[in-house]
């Protein structure tokens, strides 16, 4: 920052420029966040009167095995998504960072999922995986003919696969960007020391990607906590609640079950758990995350 106390006074009049953004974000971001806390202590069916009822919603939700179940499903999908997406995104990100030849073709085809809406993706996979008329059935490949969305275990696997299908391009894109920022001198030095590609990957690339790994993991964690669109269209939480994640649980209780109070409790659980997990991931990266990146640059 170049502006000292003198220029601060000179520029003091700039404050109004921030007002439009601040007002609209306060109206639809900050106030609702306070609102969801207040609503969690009320009874409201979404249309009628809002009446305060104290801790009733909290007690009923926190003692409800349904909450534990959707929390568990959310964490399971989160963990599996991370395990599928992270290694794959790093491999692909490193590969496309070093390739000139395929980049144009890859960039158009490979990143298509970034453009598709979750609704379009879910509709496509519903048709594609249909046990009677889907791809597997019409090709006659028995391995592919499964009740992908009708069997609880397979449905979880399918959701993880489709989520990964949607987001691996995004994560490999940010890894690709990070790989390009690694100074070539590091690799030259390593090569002079006789390090092979694998050794270079583990001794240079991976440590240099540490900060990106934290960013990417944080996004996977936060994204999993709010996963909604895809599951809503793909499985609607089924079969028999096997894929009922927290955000869907909230929607179904609030907007389908007309119980906005308990739904607000779940909304707050989503925020608190998401923030705690994201902070946990950041902390795992250690406080030197920024410094090590600066050294490398």
């Amino acid at each position: 920052m170049t502006s000292g106390s003198v220029s601060a006074r000179q520029h003091g009049s700039l404050a109004w420029l921030v007002l439009p953004a601040l007002v609209i974000f306060t109206a639809f971001g900050v106030i609702p966040l306070i609102g969801v806390l207040l609503l969690s202590f009320t009874s409201w069916n979404g249309i009628g009167e809002i009446t305060p009822i104290g801790f009733e919603n909290w007690v009923s939700v926190l003692t409800d095995p349904g909450l534990v179940h959707s929390l568990g499903v959310t964490f399971l999908i989160m963990a599996l998504s991370w395990l599928v997406q992270t290694p794959m995104s790093i491999l692909v990100g490193v590969f496309i960072a070093g390739q000139q030849r395929y980049r144009t073709v890859l960039a158009v085809l490979y990143f298509t999922p970034l453009l598709l809406s979750s609704a379009a993706i879910a509709i496509t996979y519903k048709a594609l995986l249909d046990p009677n008329f889907g791809l597997g059935a019409s090709l006659g490949i028995p391995l592919l003919v499964q009740n992908w969305l009708g069997d609880p275990v397979l449905a979880i696997a399918t959701v993880v696969f489709v989520v990964s299908w949607q987001f691996i391009p995004f994560h490999s894109l940010i890894y690709q960007g990070a790989v390009r920022q690694i100074p070539a001198s590091l690799y030259e030095a390593a090569r002079i020391d006789g390090a092979g590609r694998v050794r270079q990957f583990f001794s240079i690339t991976l440590p240099q990607l540490k900060y990106t790994l934290i960013t990417s993991s944080t996004m996977i964690v936060a994204g999993s906590m709010t996963l909604f669109d895809l599951i809503f269209v793909l499985t609607m939480g089924g079969p028999s609640d096997a894929t009922r994640v927290l955000a869907l649980d909230m929607y179904l209780r609030g907007f389908r079950g007309n119980m906005m109070g308990p739904a607000s409790v779940i909304a707050l659980i989503i925020v608190v758990v998401a923030v705690l997990l994201a902070m946990g991931v950041q902390r795992m990266g250690g406080k030197d995350a920024n410094e090590s990146r600066l050294e490398g640059a």
């Binding site: 000292g4 106390s5 601060a8 000179q10 003091g12 700039l14 404050a15 109004w16 420029l17 921030v18 953004a21 974000f25 639809f28 971001g29 900050v30 106030i31 609702p32 966040l33 609102g35 969801v36 609503l39 979404g46 491999l91 692909v92 490193v94 590969f95 496309i96 070093g98 960039a107 085809l109 298509t112 970034l114 453009l115 809406s117 979750s118 609704a119 509709i123 048709a127 594609l128 008329f133 019409s138 090709l139 894109l173 940010i174 960007g177 990070a178 920022q181 090569r191 990106t212 936060a222 669109d229 269209v233 955000a247 909230m250 909304a267 707050l268 989503i270 925020v271 998401a274 923030v275």
Partner: protein, 273 residues
């Protein structure tokens, strides 16, 4: 790197994943051109009896209305979001260390951690109380709000890199801060503005939860919601449903082919920092 062995594992993973991405996309496109009868009988990976009847059916099912609704909501949310975020970012970077600006910046930074899903119930309540339920404005206002935190962050980082000498020399020439903002910072920030506009535009274009909760009239439907509703009504006619998926994606794919560099470069810069 030319002297080295190729990156076999990386190549294998990349081409495997490329295949996994292309097969569904390819299948959707060829199936959307098949008549319903051929869908059940033909080889799913080969084109058969190509026809435009599915596309005709989708367009007759008010596709253009939904498309226009999506355009209205996306432009209506993205343009103001980028402009107010730019002004806020400019004030935060150039406005010195005033307490109010620092407070605003903190609010936006904390806003990054606030997911829309978590506040959708109060947003619904506010929209009802403002008598905006079931209108495009009901989608536009919260969409602007939730685009602000990330946009301000990216734009402020970018404006910070503008050399101070440029601002000083403009001031010497007698320019006001308002003039400096639009005639110096705005053009210089263009790459970031385009990135933010594309990214937020894509978010709004593909949004599902807000339209699901805040609108109900069929004539107000945006594309993702229309796809979902269409699938409910015409689920049996798979080629027609897939034609609707293609039609909904085509405009954005066309824009992507044109603006690819900006989108990819911006996403890389915005998220690997």
């Amino acid at each position: 790197m030319s002297a080295e062995r190729p990156n076999y594992l990386g190549s294998f993973a990349s081409f495997l994943w490329l295949g996994i991405i292309i097969i569904p996309v390819y299948w959707v496109v060829i199936t959307s051109f098949k008549p319903q009868s051929a869908y059940y009988t033909s080889n799913p990976m080969l084109p058969a009896e190509p026809t435009l009847e599915n596309y005709q059916a989708v367009i007759e099912a008010d596709f253009l209305t939904y498309f226009l609704n999506s355009v209205i909501v996306t432009l209506g949310a993205t343009v103001p979001a980028v402009l107010v975020s730019f002004m806020a970012a400019f004030a935060i970077v150039r406005g010195g260390r005033g307490r109010f600006l620092r407070f605003s910046n903190t609010v936006f930074l904390m806003g990054l951690a606030c997911p829309l899903q978590a506040v959708i119930i109060p947003v619904y309540l506010i929209i009802i109380r403002l008598s905006l339920y079931d209108s495009h404005l009901a989608l536009i206002l919260p969409s602007i709000a939730f685009a602000i935190p990330l946009s301000v962050l990216i734009l402020a980082n970018f404006i910070r890199d503008v050399p101070n000498e440029l601002f000083e020399s403009m001031r010497m020439d007698g320019a006001t801060e308002w003039g400096t903002m639009w005639r110096l910072a705005f053009p210089l920030t263009q790459p970031a503005l385009i990135t933010v506009a594309i990214y937020q535009g894509l978010q709004v274009w593909n949004a599902f939860l807000l339209p699901l909760v805040l609108t109900q009239s069929p004539e107000l439907r945006v594309l993702p919601l229309a796809l979902w509703a269409f699938q409910g009504e015409y689920g049996i006619n798979v080629p027609a449903v897939l034609a609707s998926v293609v039609l909904a994606t085509l405009p954005i794919l066309a824009l992507y082919v044109i603006g690819r560099r900006h989108l990819l470069a911006g996403m890389t810069a915005g998220f690997s920092k």
